[in-house]
């Protein structure tokens, strides 16, 4: 430890443009000291420096913290005044120290001396540490006018501790005034809370990139008319002794962009420090008095951002997809589709979840006994706020004559149909319907050695028969569950099925991305010479 202290003190004393004004000592989990950095022609910078004792390795995400003590408001200074640096890593103590100092000097040159602006918009720095609320919103189609005021609606997803206390709450803004957010109209997104929105014409900046922090600073951003409305609300809450927890969002246009950003706060009505002062008779002026605004976290979670890190190709994402059969294949296929950005999913299976399904299908314990389509719907709605899904009730029943036209119409409502039932009767019937949309039939052989994907064929059932005749040279015993008259089922493990299924979806995605039509293929597991999955296009 002493050696390293000595190393730090010697190294920093020997650096150009830098003065060690307080020698480093061990403080808790850090080496702590103070430095000055020359910044001519501007004022010399002063920093409190915290070097984690794990250095040159980071302590969690932390590397050296440089907290600037004499200036604020410049770009890339965090709310706690630490500088946001991205220095490269190095496993040698002195080399990494050098890299960090270089990164600090680069920040000084670019963002303090030259006051460069980033090409990308940098959000305001907001002190929201400790707030359990996280607001998510999307872009909306219409813009807002300056001083616009109204009510927004939102849906909350709270996370509670075992005593029912709130640990964290995600709040999805669903509607601002009359403008709907992009979320799907699924039942989970039904609003259960509301609040006020105020639209201001510019970023609520205190200094540099730092957002205003006190209520009083908000006075110059919100019109007297709107302050009066808020004051009346607060007075009403106090007089009726309904001290409601109040959500407020404040929106503004991001400079140089068509995007709107919202800052949010959650506060008890009685804690909003607003008052009216009589200026002349019958004329009051309303204003906030001092006090810290309890800002919350907010994020623009529009579709492109939500799925920006990885989505299925746009053509598939925009298709209205029906999945018939929600067993080992269908339930996972549905999950993959929702997680990949698909927006409309019809689900069809009139079976219910059994405990024996869980080992290889996408269900949980609480869902035993639920209809499979409902259980899958539940799962999907916890994944994507952009997926609209619905249960295609009794589709399998109407799929048979004499309602041929009715069932054809129902299937033709979709752009793409996945049949994951492994029911040959159904496959044959769908063939006969001659629907105009591509149908993809996915089935596996016993022990998931092969997955057969038949796409866009008019004689799926016959094709499947021909293929499985070739594959089924080994007769294997099916799984009979205990006693009783259960239908036997194939044996196959979750990971075997899904390694095939993931590859199948990759293949379909590739076909569409390359501008081809969906076409059939077989995936085979080969074990003879190392484990391999091989795709045979038909």
């Amino acid at each position: 430890m002493k050696e390293r202290l000595l190393l730090i003190n010697n190294f920093l004393s020997s650096q150009e443009e830098l003065i060690l004004i307080e020698q480093f000592v061990v403080l808790d989990k850090f080496f702590f000291g103070k430095i000055q950095l020359d910044a001519q022609p501007k004022t010399t910078l002063e920093f409190d420096v915290y070097i984690p004792i794990s250095f040159p390795y980071s302590d969690g995400a932390l590397s050296i913290i440089f907290k600037c003590t004499n200036i604020e408001g410049y770009r890339h200074i965090n709310a706690d005044r630490s500088i946001c640096l991205r220095a490269p890593k190095h496993s040698d103590f002195e080399s990494r120290l050098k890299l960090e100092i270089e990164a600090l000097k680069e920040w000084r040159d670019r963002f303090y001396i030259r006051e460069e602006k980033d090409e990308r918009y940098e959000y305001l720095i907001i002190d929201n540490i400790g707030s359990p609320f996280n607001f998510l919103f999307t872009n909306v189609k219409e813009g807002f006018a300056k001083d616009e005021y109204g009510v927004f609606k939102a849906m909350t997803l709270p996370f509670l501790n075992e005593n029912g206390g709130l640990i964290h709450e995600n709040i999805f803004i669903t509607q601002i005034g009359k403008r709907n957010c992009e979320w799907s109209m699924n039942p989970v997104m039904k609003p259960n809370t509301q609040g006020f929105y105020f639209f201001i014409d510019k970023e609520p900046v205190k200094k540099g990139r730092i957002s205003i922090e006190s209520w009083a600073d908000l006075n110059s951003f919100i019109s007297q008319k709107n302050l009066k409305i808020l004051n009346d609300y607060v007075r009403h809450c106090i007089s009726t002794k309904r001290d409601e927890l109040t959500n407020i969002i404040i929106g503004y246009n991001i400079p140089g962009s068509s995007e709107i950003h919202w800052q949010a706060l959650v506060v008890n009505a009685s804690k909003i420090p607003i008052t009216g002062k009589k200026v002349v008779s019958n004329y009051y002026e309303y204003y906030f008095s001092d006090g810290r605004i309890p800002w919350c976290k907010t994020a623009n979670a529009s579709y492109e951002r939500f799925f920006g890190r990885g989505a299925i190709c746009e053509t598939i994402a925009n298709k209205k997809i029906l999945i018939i059969g929600l067993g080992a294949i269908g339930s996972t296929l549905a999950r993959i589709m929702a997680r990949s950005g698909v927006k409309a999913l019809g689900l069809c299976d009139n079976d219910i979840v059994e405990h024996g399904n869980i080992c290889r299908a996408d269900f949980g314990l609480s869902q035993i006994g639920l209809p499979k389509s409902l259980a899958v719907m539940q799962n999907l709605l916890t994944i994507s706020p952009f997926v609209e899904c619905w249960h295609e009730a009794n589709l399998d029943k109407i799929l048979f004559e004499p309602w041929k036209n009715k069932s054809r119409d129902r299937l033709n409502k979709y752009d793409l149909v996945f049949d994951c039932t492994s029911d040959n009767e159904l496959a044959e019937y769908i063939d006969k319907l001659e629907i105009q949309r591509p149908v993809v039939n996915i089935s596996i052989s016993n022990n998931a050695r092969e997955m057969v994907c038949i796409a866009g064929m008019k004689n799926t059932c016959e094709t499947k028969f021909q293929i499985f005749q070739k594959l089924n040279d080994v007769q294997e015993e099916l799984f009979y569950e205990g006693t009783g008259c259960w239908n036997p089922t194939f044996r196959a493990r979750y990971f075997d099925i899904n390694s095939l299924l993931n590859l199948a979806i990759m293949n379909f995605n590739k076909q569409i991305e390359e501008g081809r039509k969906l076409s059939s293929f077989i995936i085979k597991t080969e074990t003879s010479n190392g484990l391999k999955l091989i795709t045979y296009d038909l």
Binding site: S443, S445, V452, N459, T463, L478, E514, Y536
Partner: protein, 312 residues
């Protein structure tokens, strides 16, 4: 029983014959005749000839799984000012005047198609599709001599409206008396139908005839060998071949497929040949018999298809 590729392909052709659906064919013919009659009456002073049959019916290349019926009505040179006016007039006739309770009237029937008016009829529950192609003779009195007509080609996506010259008679003559070619065309149409491929039948006809022409003198005798020859020909040549309408060398039919569609078609052929080479019974997947009219399997095999539930 050992599998024979030739026997299977013969079964495919036999089970897809139009004769199996004679009742439906009769309905088609009857409807076609009545449409012809109406057109004759409506355009008695404007037509250069009575409407003529075209399409796969006229060429004997139809398969009973999917077939449209096509009619062409040749107009006199002076009947309309422009080709577009001609095309719109025929469309408007079916939309506003033509009186037939069997004609389905919906958002897509009658509809403007690239060179034709698309009609859908519902006759006792069977859906029948018919395309009516209006054409104008090249100059006053020319039709009787050359049988050539100009068609109005409607704008599509980014391509603007244009016109093209053609001759229905020459299309029919192209494969007249070419029985072996016709067999292969019908087989490729079976493949196209069951595998949902969107290649124009005219393209299949032209490339098949060309494959035979380019191999004159060395055409094998067996059905499979002939099919194989054409498939190999498509695999090797489709990406570079230039196919033109025999009635109009300026109409480059091979341009109706995009480069990627041609590549896909070549790869489809390559894959099919490879799979059939590995296991000849795979032929049954690509070229299935029409079970409904297959003597050997009949409807009884339907049940055995459904019994293969070792994978359910």
């Amino acid at each position: 029983m050992e599998f024979s590729k030739n026997e299977h392909l013969n079964d495919v052709l036999e089970s897809h014959k139009m004769g199996h659906v004679q009742d439906l064919v009769d309905k088609y013919n009857k409807k076609r005749d009545s449409v012809k009659e109406s057109l004759d009456k409506k355009y008695s002073d404007k037509k250069a000839s009575s409407p003529i049959n075209s399409g796969s019916f006229a060429k004997h290349t139809a398969i009973n799984k999917k077939f449209d019926i096509d009619l062409c009505i040749p107009f006199k040179y002076g009947a309309f000012k422009t080709l577009e006016e001609m095309a719109d007039d025929v469309y408007n006739y079916f939309k506003d005047e033509y009186n037939d309770p069997d004609l389905v009237r919906s958002y897509n029937s009658p509809r403007k198609q690239r060179v034709s008016v698309g009609l859908t009829f519902n006759i006792d529950g069977s859906e029948i599709k018919m395309d009516v192609v209006p054409g104008r003779e090249l100059s006053e009195g020319d039709y009787d001599k050359t049988k050539k007509i100009n068609l109005h080609v409607r704008a599509k996506n980014t391509s603007p409206a244009t016109s093209t010259q053609t001759s229905i008679q020459e299309h029919i003559d192209l494969i007249k008396g070419k029985n072996p070619e016709r067999q292969i065309i019908r087989l490729l149409k079976v493949w196209k139908h069951y595998n949902s491929k969107e290649i124009k039948s005219f393209f299949i006809e032209l490339i098949t005839v060309r494959a035979f022409d380019d191999n004159t003198g060395s055409i094998p005798s067996g059905l499979w060998d002939k099919l194989k020859l054409v498939m190999e020909y498509i695999r090797d040549n489709v990406q570079n071949i230039r196919l033109t309408d025999p009635a109009n060398s300026n109409n480059i039919v091979s341009d109706t497929l995009t480069a990627i569609e041609k590549k896909n078609l070549s790869e489809d052929m390559k894959r099919m040949l490879e799979r059939i080479d590995e296991d000849e019974t795979t032929l049954k997947i690509y070229y299935p018999v029409n079970d409904a009219f297959h003597k050997k399997s009949g409807s009884s095999t339907g049940a055995s298809r459904l019994k293969t539930n070792s994978f359910s």
